[in-house]
């Protein structure tokens, strides 16, 4: 009798504890407990053991590290990344659990949320601008200087002056790989059909409007862009067109101050293009992939995008996107890349670009004795003198000893990109990298409402500025 009572009580207690135990696996708990677990043995361990943390970590068996990058989808370096990871895995015996994805606002939000909920990766290739402020401020990534205390050779092949400091605290965290530029890709087959010349270094906004009208009259979509999905590049250049490289990185204090008025004017230029019917009919409901396919299929003439899209365009000309030998050279010859049309004081050859991303090592990996050395080794491999040139191709890098570019290895579009870059008069960073995520919502997600007139450009800009000011408090 008593035994049965006791059994019932014990079973209930076990079930209750089991459920409460489940609660202790909530996302934040391990993050909070992890440092204590890793730090306490070090504090209590004999001095001899405490002095050799690197050896201890290297002595452990193969480990799996989680890595997230933007080398995925249409990115030029998606295949290079896979190859480099495979090489590192083969050389070290470690493995990579990769969660790379195409870079867009959803990706950025996912990363920030992962940090907030304690499920960040061990190594991260991410933006070095204001988008990283939250996790930098939270101390969830390790600075290059801190890593060098223990691993003096870390990123020593990089020119430190070219490594961007975090706007959050001025420290350097992200080891860069390849630079980027943003420019206007052109489908010359469409231009030929519409009787339009390929734009050059003196191409103006007015000429662009005239050409768009001709292309539209010929039955093509002048601009391949999904304003409801990825308005980023148009946002950046439309604002840049109201400014100069000297003041492009200024953040407005209000929609009606000088910089604010430039932002508003830029957004109204996009609205004008929309009203003239220069974007695809489904620009508000399409995804970026859909409009990109329109461009590569010869249904749209211009595509404003980044250097990473070169690989996507080349891939679309291959019968097997992963095998460069299957390229259709004739199809690729119909693509070109040129400068965004200039307006006002911005020269056509003033471009957006730089080194905006890099490899971070998270505090979680750094404080894990099993993963610390592996994470450092991974970043050192991915940013080595051998790997970086493969990624940089026709863009810049921060290497101290960057090898001379061998154009004979390039495809036709990469050669055209190199030619365009040789005429650049300035390379300015993207102001959207300083105007972080939440602030951009009213003008990025709100772009469809702006172009159809549901919301005025001034109101949308002011809303973004208000959020920006809020984040500074």
């Amino acid at each position: 009798m008593k035994f049965k009572n006791l059994t019932a009580v014990l079973m209930t207690a076990v079930m209750t504890l089991g459920m409460v135990g489940c609660g202790s696996t909530a996302p934040e708990a391990p993050a909070a407990e992890a440092p204590a677990q890793t730090e306490s043995p070090a504090a209590e361990a004999p001095a001899a053991e405490a002095e050799a943390p690197a050896e201890t970590t290297e002595a452990t068996g193969p480990v799996e590290i989680t890595v997230t990058t933007t080398f995925a989808g249409e990115d030029s370096n998606a295949q290079n990344y896979k190859n480099a990871v495979a090489d590192w895995e083969a050389a070290t015996g470690n493995t990579v659990s990769d969660t790379s994805a195409t870079s867009d606002e959803t990706f950025k939000t996912r990363i920030i949320t992962d940090f907030e909920t304690g499920s960040e990766p061990d190594v991260l290739f991410f933006f070095n601008g204001a988008d990283a402020n939250d996790f930098v401020n939270a101390g969830k990534v390790v600075s290059i200087d801190d890593i060098r205390v223990e691993f003096p050779e870390y990123a020593s092949n990089m020119n430190d002056d070219l490594i961007a400091a975090s706007p959050a605290d001025g420290k350097k965290y992200a080891v860069p790989v390849n630079g980027y530029w943003e420019a206007m890709f052109v489908n010359t087959e469409v231009l030929d059909a519409a009787g339009v010349e390929v734009p050059g270094a003196d191409y103006t906004w007015d000429q662009f409007l005239e050409d768009c009208q001709k292309i539209k009259d010929a039955g093509y979509a002048p601009i391949a862009a999904a304003l409801g999905n990825i308005p980023h590049y148009w946002w950046e250049f439309a604002i840049f067109n109201q400014q100069t490289p000297d003041n492009h990185l200024d953040i407005p204090g209000a929609a009606d101050d000088a910089t604010g008025a430039q932002w508003v004017a830029g957004l109204e230029d996009i609205k004008d293009l929309y009203e003239k019917g220069f974007f695809p009919d489904n620009t508000l409901s399409a995804t970026d992939d859909e409009t990109f396919a329109m461009f590569t299929d010869g249904k749209a003439a211009f595509l404003l995008d980044g250097s990473w899209k070169v690989g996507g365009i080349v891939g679309s000309c291959q019968s097997d996107p992963e095998d460069p030998s299957t390229i259709d050279a004739d199809k690729l010859s119909h693509f070109d890349v040129t400068y965004f049309p200039g307006k006002g004081n911005r020269k056509t050859t003033d471009m957006i670009g730089g080194l905006s991303m890099g490899y971070y090592i998270t505090t979680k990996a750094w404080e894990d004795p099993d993963k610390k050395a592996a994470a450092v080794s991974f970043v050192e491999h991915m940013t080595s003198d051998e790997v970086v040139p493969l990624f940089a191709q026709h863009t810049a890098s921060a290497l101290k000893n960057a090898p001379a570019v061998d154009e004979t290895q390039f495809n036709a579009l990469q050669v055209k990109a190199m030619s365009m870059m040789s005429g650049v008069t300035s390379l300015t960073g993207a102001v959207q990298d300083l105007f972080n995520g939440d602030c951009r919502v009213s003008t990025f997600d709100g772009m469809p409402d702006i172009v159809v007139g549901n919301v005025s450009a001034a109101d949308a800009v002011q809303e973004g500025i208000d959020v920006y000011k809020d984040t500074l408090e």
Binding site: T12, L284, S285, V441, D445
Partner: protein
Amino acid sequence: MSNIYKSKKYVFLFLAPAFLFMIIYLYYPFFVNIYGSFRGIKNLGTFGTKWNTPWYENYVKLVTDPVVRTSLKNTFIMIIATIVGQVGIALLLAILVDNIERGTQFFRTVYFFPIVISATALGLLFNLIFLYDKGMLNQFLELFGRTELIDWKGEKLAIMTMMIPVVWQYVGFYFVILQTGLNNISQELYESAAIDGATRFQRVWYISLPLLRNVLCTCLTLGVTGALKVFDLPWTMFPKGMPLKETFLTGTYMYYQTMEAKNVDYGATLAVLIVVLGVVLSRLTRLVFKESEDF
């Protein structure tokens, strides 16, 4: 020996784990969520650093936000689509299948199959069907001579395009429930009616439907409350309420504000609205679709 069964305290003892579970994972987060709706929160996992000014700011915004009105409207359309589309079509199919002698199991499997496919996969599948350029539907229309492409996901058709896959996915679920209900009706009733000269329609109208009333009520209650929780398929097909925030449901708008716009406190306010809506609608549903004890 018998005390253990008579004593009520053991009942409470066994109820305790589930009760604790509910407290920790449902009621505590719910009250924390209400608290959060009055705070200024930018990041998940925190309570923010300050109170909103005024503290009820988000609730004022809730009333004035046009997107909330759109999402409420869409949610009610979704409820109607559930009642008419999911339960209605499922009832029709169940009655038809009940009237055939062979292949019942085959149709059960066929209609139920969409339920086992992930909603995200279905969303991607329907994205290809409704694609503007080279989508399956537009290619079919081209075959029939149509020269202009239809933007199925555009402003005019977006809601319909969003509802079709959701309705299609769950028809099988209600079909199986209703079919089971029909199987429980004694064949003798149908045979007697047939002998009395009742047509097939009369047998359905005067026997099947009245005896299926309680099962139908259960299906409708499940449908209405389920419609409030639809999330993954609409979000996959129409992320961020595309186009022009016209396709937001209450759930997708809450997610957008919390995870995408990083307006966590406003997301919490929308969550409160969803709970209130859920409670009110489930009470209403129970009143309207009250089960009868006659059957």
